[in-house]
């Protein structure tokens, strides 16, 4: 089972945290701990980390001989981290991370960190089409994308029905569409971004 999906950037700021099992620590501490373990690992090491020192943070309930493993992958400025137990194939999870990124890329067209910040809800919806309750739901990018699109359409319909006067009803995570997206409207105004 997959116990957590985390995305944080190279400074350790979380961009997505999703836990499928209740934690006995604040999610912040867990992210910091995992970040501190992963960020010191140079390129070329394996993508798996079975860390007993994590057990205190997110270990399974007492009395289980299952050891949780961390499977992670680094894309540009982001770390994608999955915490899984022995029932999952490590390489399978590694592939799943790739699928997740490809799905994000489909929806956002050339995804970047900013997309994850401004469309946090959309990211969660996409993740929900891949993993549900800690189990792999769908692994096929096409299928995932079509589910995301159908949800998007449902949202658009409900938006139009409630705002009949809205222009075009530009909704959705994609940055295409006729109107200048609010993201452009914003990036102009952002100066001295520290990385927060």
């Amino acid at each position: 089972m997959i116990h957590a999906v985390l995305i944080f950037n190279t400074s350790g700021i979380p961009r997505l945290t999703k836990f499928y099992t209740p934690l006995h620590q604040s999610s912040q501490t867990v992210v910091q701990k995992i970040f501190s373990l992963i960020s010191v690992r140079p390129q070329g090491l394996c993508n798996f980390l079975d860390a007993p020192e994590l057990e205190a943070f997110l270990g399974p309930k007492d009395g289980s001989n299952e050891r949780w493993r961390v499977v992670y992958r680094n894309y540009a400025t982001l770390y994608f981290v999955f915490v899984v137990d022995g029932a999952e194939s490590e390489l399978g999870i590694l592939d799943l991370i790739q699928v997740f990124v490809e799905a994000l890329d489909r929806s956002f067209q050339n995804v970047c960190e900013l997309d994850l910040v401004f469309h946090f809800d959309e990211v969660h919806h996409i993740l929900a089409e891949i993993i549900q309750g800690g189990l792999v739901l769908e692994t096929n990018v096409e299928e995932i994308n079509s589910s995301v699109q159908s949800a998007l359409k449902a949202r658009k319909d409900s938006f139009i029905s409630s705002n009949p006067l809205a222009l075009g009803g530009s909704v959705g995570g994609s940055r295409n569409g006729g109107l200048p997206t609010p993201l452009n409207w914003l990036t102009d105004r952002l100066t001295g971004v520290s990385g927060r």
């Binding site: 549900q132 800690g134 449902a154 609010p182 927060r196």
Partner: protein
């Protein structure tokens, strides 16, 4: 969609703009205060609620604690607008945990969304349950979820979600899911055409099958069949290839599922499985350039190797696997090295011979120095698993050397493992003591209490060891800096066995005392109290140093620590008793040996299992540990599944005591309700079913079953103790029957075996017929015919269970006798108990005569040779036959049928050298004759 909420976008931008953490916090506090006020004022429309809840979610994701918005989220869920509903559900799944009180409020909204005729709403509801489903929800909603899963009108994406949601509910409340009852219906979903659905359903079945292995047994065939179709027949839709590997996740899941079952006995399945695994292994022999492709291929490959190891460690497949693994552990790719070592540990844990692995011992030891700690860990586990008597000195030596430079986080585990290996594979006592003391002195702080307890236990229980141990420990104590654990061991061993070496030069009592006492000042109170006990023992055996010892007791009488003070006072009083008092001697008797018990070390390593989680199929450590573990679980299961039918009391009695022995001293809890042993399928009833069956008991071919949808026909052939049944399934309707499954249930598999020649196709096209060959073998006399269960989806799920006409007389072969021979044998066999006789009423034919041809047909249909001219009465029938069995050999059987027209009665007498056969045959022939 955050995009069309300007306020939210502004809020996010502000936070990103905040240069320091304080500013960020200030902005968030301001926003939260604002939202709180807005919520309090009330009167918000849907859009505003949605916006504020979205802001709260964002704040939560940043890692801040939020305590508002729960109620608004609940309100949003029941909104009719999808966009609001979606945010509401997102908030519920993120902000609430499964025990949250607010969840009670959403159960009804969720149910409404589940029942709605709108798939996207169904999906939202399912997703919410799968994430936060509580046991309360399990009770309320399990039925609805199940309905969505099996309904033929559900869209594939709803089915997928429903399968996983059901799994979640099962994990929360196993008792609300009637798993056994739903089993066949759920397994039939594994034949779905959409591989996505198959993947999700397989996840569900994997969890259920672990608890109810027998009820879900059909899934084994389904999994093998699916793997075969993907891997060899390349039967899958193109979109499910991932970097040219067909459905890797599904393959991995199926391969894993098969590992939860004991290796199959079925010859057909075995060969199909072998072929599939072989293909997987050879196809991944050449690595490609693409990382993604390699990953996916290796994921399948590693799982296939694990399965091959699980099936049979002696098969040629495993040899191939061992060669592949050897290549992996020296691969350039770190991931591959890591998994190679991991899988090798699996092999070491199960394999009977470690020789193929030992060839690579050097490489594995080198991996202990890999640059990646994850790899080092795996190497450590592997070395631990592959250690045996021959290589223990080498491996333990290597581990000890590595321990000194190992990562701190690794050390404690290493110490435990070294201690276990040293104890288990010690070739000499000397080596054991040397190694373990070296371990304690090298690892210092990482030595858990268990380690030195165990040393003391072993030294106390092994007389030959005591003198040597005392000498070595004394040498350690003489070195300037000694770790405290070693002082504890030293204190105990010298106290008990110091006198054994006291006469040798350099080991005199005063020298022992000085060496030990010089360490005392650096030790904590508990260690000092151990030392005080050592001193009182010395007072008993070394009178020459008594004054020094009494001096110490005296001083310790005034320390502040209560424990130390009390010991000192008591020991002082004991020591000061007059010399002729025997009190001291009695108190300081030598310690008796400890009762033999399982090492606390291993139990610390292998902690018990949890219940509904997926279990590991093996654990680190040698083969014996794994065997033990397996035995344990099967024994426990057999004990729980004590069926009333099972009359082998002796067998279960011994099993019980074996369980008790195995459990003694071990803390291994029973896995939760282990599976019910498969009950016989309930037979389908119908007016003609019995007649069809009876007719086939004495004829070789005919119709076995027929209804509006399906027709089942049989053609059979028997030769000696073997038989072959061709079973014809005809689809009578104009739609295909999907998920077509046929299984055979044999109640006594030691007496009769029945296997299909190949895995049948799972779709029966409209108005066509398919044929399946069933091979049967009679091993011993049996009474219950096998039961054929056919199930399929034709709109709804249907299943038919009927008896197959395979009865003991099918394995008869007629023999010819003359009159004299016959009667000689008849007399030789004699009467009861080797004779079975019955008198029963018969019907006469239309003309009022005995239906002689019919009787003859039945007797010869039961494979008796009808012997004419033996009985003077022409309406009587006499027959003889020999039963062939593969285990019990041949059994002769004679029969005599005497119908009486006037009384409308008939007497049937069967004599056989086997009592069982006589009774069985008499019953079979009688039933056939009565049936009209």
């Amino acid at each position: 969609m955050a995009a069309n909420m300007r306020g939210l976008t502004q809020f996010i931008a502000d936070i990103r703009g905040a240069r320091v953490r304080e500013l960020e916090e200030k902005r968030i506090n301001k926003e939260m205060a604002n939202i709180r006020k807005k919520f309090k004022d009330g009167n918000l429309d849907g859009y505003q609620k949605k916006k504020y809840v979205a802001k709260i979610i964002f704040t939560y994701i940043l890692g801040y604690k939020v305590d508002i918005g729960h109620l608004e989220a609940v309100n949003l869920i029941s909104s009719s607008k999808y966009s609001e509903k979606q945010i509401g559900y997102l908030a519920v799944t993120l902000l609430m945990h499964e025990n949250s009180d607010f969840l009670r409020l959403v159960v009804n909204s969720i149910r409404k969304d589940l029942d709605e005729n709108n798939e996207v709403h169904n999906c939202l509801a399912l997703h919410a349950i799968a994430n936060v489903g509580s046991s309360e929800m399990a009770e309320a909603l399990a039925e609805d979820v199940h309905r969505l899963l099996i309904s033929p009108t559900s869209m594939t994406f709803v089915k997928k979600k429903a399968a996983l949601t059901l799994l979640r509910l099962y994990r929360k409340r196993p008792e609300v899911i009637p798993a056994v009852e739903w089993a066949l219906r759920l397994v039939s979903l594994m034949d779905d055409q959409d591989l996505g659905v198959v993947l999700c359903v397989t996840s569900l079945i994997m969890a259920l099958a672990q608890d109810h292995p027998d009820a879900f047994a059909v899934c084994y065939t389904k999994a093998v069949d699916r793997l075969h179709r993907i891997g060899i027949e390349h039967e899958y839709s193109g979109i499910y290839t991932y970097y040219k590997v067909p459905a890797p996740w599904l393959q991995v899941k199926l391969l894993r599922l098969l590992q939860y079952y004991p290796p199959t006995e079925d010859v057909t399945l075995k060969s199909v499985l072998n072929e599939t695994l072989q293909t997987i292994m050879t196809s991944s022999a050449e690595p490609s350039r693409n990382v993604q492709h390699n990953n996916a291929q290796n994921a399948v490959l590693f799982e296939a190797i694990s399965l091959a190891i699980h099936l049979d460690t002696r098969s040629p497949l495993v040899d191939t696997a061992a060669v592949l693994l050897a290549r992996f552990i020296s691969s350039k790719e770190t991931n591959v090295r890591y998994l190679g070592l991991d899988t090798m540990a699996h092999l070491a844990a199960r394999s009977e011979t470690l020789d193929p692995l030992k060839k690579h011992q050097g490489t594995i030891i080198l991996s202990l120095r890999d640059k990646d700690i994850s790899v080092r860990r795996r190497a450590l586990d592997l070395l631990y698993s592959m250690c045996d008597v021959d290589n223990s000195e080498l491996i333990v030596g290597e581990l000890l050397r590595y321990l000194k430079v190992a990562d701190y986080v690794l050390r404690e585990e290493m110490v435990l493992k070294i201690a276990i290996l040293t104890e288990k594979y010690a070739s000499s006592y000397k080596w054991y003591v040397d190694t373990i003391l070296q371990l304690i002195s090298a690892a210092g702080d990482h030595v858990g209490e268990e380690v030195w307890y165990r040393v003391v236990q072993i030294v106390t229980n092994t007389e030959d060891l005591q003198e040597y141990a005392a000498r070595v420990v004394f040498e350690y104590l003489k070195t300037p800096s000694v770790h405290e654990s070693l002082v504890k061991v030293g204190g105990y061993i010298l106290g008990e066995y110091g006198h054994l070496i006291a006469n040798e030069p350099g080991y005199s009592p005063i020298e022992q005392f000085q060496a030990l006492h010089s360490k005392s000042q650096f030790c904590v109170a508990p260690t000092r109290s151990i030392l005080l006990s050592t001193y009182i023992k010395w007072v008993n055996v070394f009178p020459e140093i008594k004054p020094q010892l009494i001096n110490i007791f005296e001083r310790y009488r005034h320390v502040l620590d209560a424990e130390l003070q009390q010991r000192a006072c008591e020991y002082y009083a004991l020591a000061c008793l007059p010399d002729d008092n025997e009190m001291l001697q009695n108190v300081c008797e030598e310690m008796p040996p400890f009762p033999p018990r399982v090492s606390g070390l291993t139990s610390r390593l292998n902690r018990k299992m949890t219940d509904t989680e997926d279990k590991r199929t093996w654990i680190h450590g040698g083969r014996e540990i794994n065997l033990e573990q397996q035995q344990m679980s099967t024994l426990v299961r057999s004990k729980q599944a004590e069926l009333p039918v099972n009359d082998s009391t002796t067998a279960s009695g011994t099993a019980d005591s074996a369980v008790l022995n195995a459990l003694a001293g071990l803390d291994l809890t029973v896995p939760s309700e282990a599976g019910e042993s498969a009950p016989a399928p309930r037979l389908t009833v119908g007016p003609s079913i019995d007649k069809w069956y009876q007719k086939l008991t004495y004829s070789a071919e005919g119709v076995l079953y027929e209804d509006v949808q399906i027709q089942i026909g049989i053609k059979s052939r028997f030769q000696g103790y073997l038989g072959q049944l061709a079973i014809y399934f005809g689809n009578k309707v104009s739609a295909p029957l999907t998920s077509f499954t046929s299984t055979v249930y044999v109640s006594d598999s030691a007496a009769l075996s029945a296997t299909f020649a190949k895995i049948p196709a799972n779709v029966l096209a409209p108005r066509t017929q398919s044929q399946q060959l069933l091979q049967v073998e009679c091993k011993k006399v049996f009474t219950c015919p096998p039961i054929l269960t056919v199930s399929f989806l034709a709109g709804a799920y249907q299943s038919i269970s009927i008896r197959l006409p395979v009865i003991v007389t099918k394995f008869f072969e007629g023999v010819k006798f003359g009159q004299a021979d016959f009667f000689e044998r008849w007399k030789l066999i004699g009467g009861f108990p080797r004779e079975a006789q019955v008198v029963f009423p018969i019907c006469l034919d239309a003309a009022g005569h005995i239906d002689l041809p019919h009787n003859r047909r039945i007797v010869s249909g039961n494979h008796f040779e009808i012997l004419d001219g033996i009985d003077p009465n022409p309406s009587n029938i006499v027959g003889a036959a020999v039963l062939h069995t593969s285990v019990e050999g041949k059994v002769g059987c004679l029969l005599r049928l005497e119908p009486n027209r006037e009384a409308k009665l008939c007497r049937l007498t069967v004599r056989s050298t086997s009592e069982e056969v006589a009774t069985a045959v008499q019953r079979l022939v009688e039933t056939a004759l009565r049936m009209e």
